[in-house]
Amino acid sequence: MILDLSVLHLIRCLPVRHPEIPTLPPKERLILELLVSEGRLFGLQLVALSHGALKRGTVYVTLGRMEAKGFIRSEQEAMPPGAIGLPRRMYYPTPLGARVLAAWSQMARALLPEVQP
């Protein structure tokens, strides 16, 4: 009977699986942190501010994935008269992205004392 109760307690303490919660890999977390703290940024500015953590080119794949998740939004840079070349794309966080980052940071703060050696 004691064994049964302990097993029940263990099952109750197991993490509940929520597959619908969007994941936040390290690169996406870094991008969200930069966008939340700096506001609107271009891809190249994100690469420069990441100090090597983000790479040119592939940063846009990560940004596209985050946009599909609803963490960020983007809009094309308006071309001033006389300007030539390709328009850049500016990225900014959505309220959902900011909430996900806040939730993630809160969880990290709660767990950090236990996981640090």
Binding site: P22, G57, Y60, I84
Partner: protein, 273 residues
């Protein structure tokens, strides 16, 4: 985006054209164009310094190459509909079948020698002849095709008689018996469905055989593999490797698509207030 003379070609224009060949429009506008805009921005900021401009060129091209390599793995639909994909796969994947057929003939070339080359040449000539006949006689269903197909089958069996011996006779006999049994069964148990008024064109290619992704299709594939293994036991490791590699690729693709489908779902009922 930089200021300058509109008539002068901008750096990265060739990469834009290349991206047009490789990717669909959403991928280009979301991933490729911003990356190339960064490249142009870096070049503009480099000024007249040769070293800085060279570094900007290297960084821009490296970013483009990285993007080209990574995008199809991360966004599986990225190359869909692009001219290169259309060229490689062709209509309904026909070009891939052609490449596969050529690779197969190249693999069996050491076993069959000039016979394989002759089969390719005669097959192409016959295909052209049949296509010309069908084009000129659109209403003559199977008029010239049926005797030609029979002649081709007889010639093929005669040619491989020396290599496979009694296996050929057994295959022919088994095939004839199976055809008779199927015909008798169909005669005694006629289909409830209305028969099609049009008879399909007789063409010598696998696309004329209706094979679906069902149990019948599985039987067809297993039968084809067993036939190849019986006739060409030297290819057993090649066939085994193909089956294992194909299965592993299918599993990886299945798992990857499942993960992608989950990770791109923005539904979030817990974090929202």
């Amino acid at each position: 985006m930089t200021a300058g003379t509109p008539n002068r070609p901008q750096p990265g224009e060739r990469l834009v054209k290349l991206a047009t060949l490789l990717f669909d429009e959403p991928t280009r506008s979301t991933f490729v164009i911003p990356a190339l805009a960064d490249y142009q921005q870096e070049l503009a900021e480099a000024g007249a310094s040769t070293i800085n401009r060279s570094l900007a060129h290297v960084r821009g091209y490296a970013a483009f190459v990285r993007l080209v390599v990574a995008a199809p793995f991360i966004v599986p639909s990225a190359p869909m509909g692009s001219p290169v994909t259309t060229f490689v796969t062709g209509k309904y994947g026909g070009n891939m079948l052609l490449v596969l057929a050529l690779a197969l003939f190249a693999a069996i070339r050491p076993l069959f020698g000039w016979f394989a080359v002759a089969v390719i040449g005669l097959g192409i000539a016959l295909a052209i002849a049949l296509r010309l006949w069908n084009t000129r006689h659109p209403n003559a269903r199977g008029g010239a095709a049926d005797p030609l197909l029979t002649l081709l089958a007889v010639a093929l069996f005669a040619a491989i008689w020396s290599m496979f011996g009694w296996f050929v006779l057994a295959a022919v006999g088994g095939g004839v018996i199976m055809a008779i049994l199927l015909r008798r069964w169909n005669t005694r148990h006629p289909s409830q469905l209305a028969p099609s008024s049009q008879r399909p064109d007789a063409e010598i290619n696998l696309s004329s055989i209706p094979v679906a992704g069902d149990f019948g299709g599985l039987l067809f594939v297993i039968g084809a593999i067993v036939t190849v293994l019986l006739g060409l036991p030297d290819l057993r490791w090649f066939v085994l490797g193909s089956v294992v590699f194909g299965g592993a690729t299918a599993l990886v693709l299945f798992a990857w698509r499942s993960i992608q489908a989950r990770s791109t779902a923005p539904a979030n009922s817990i974090l929202r207030p």
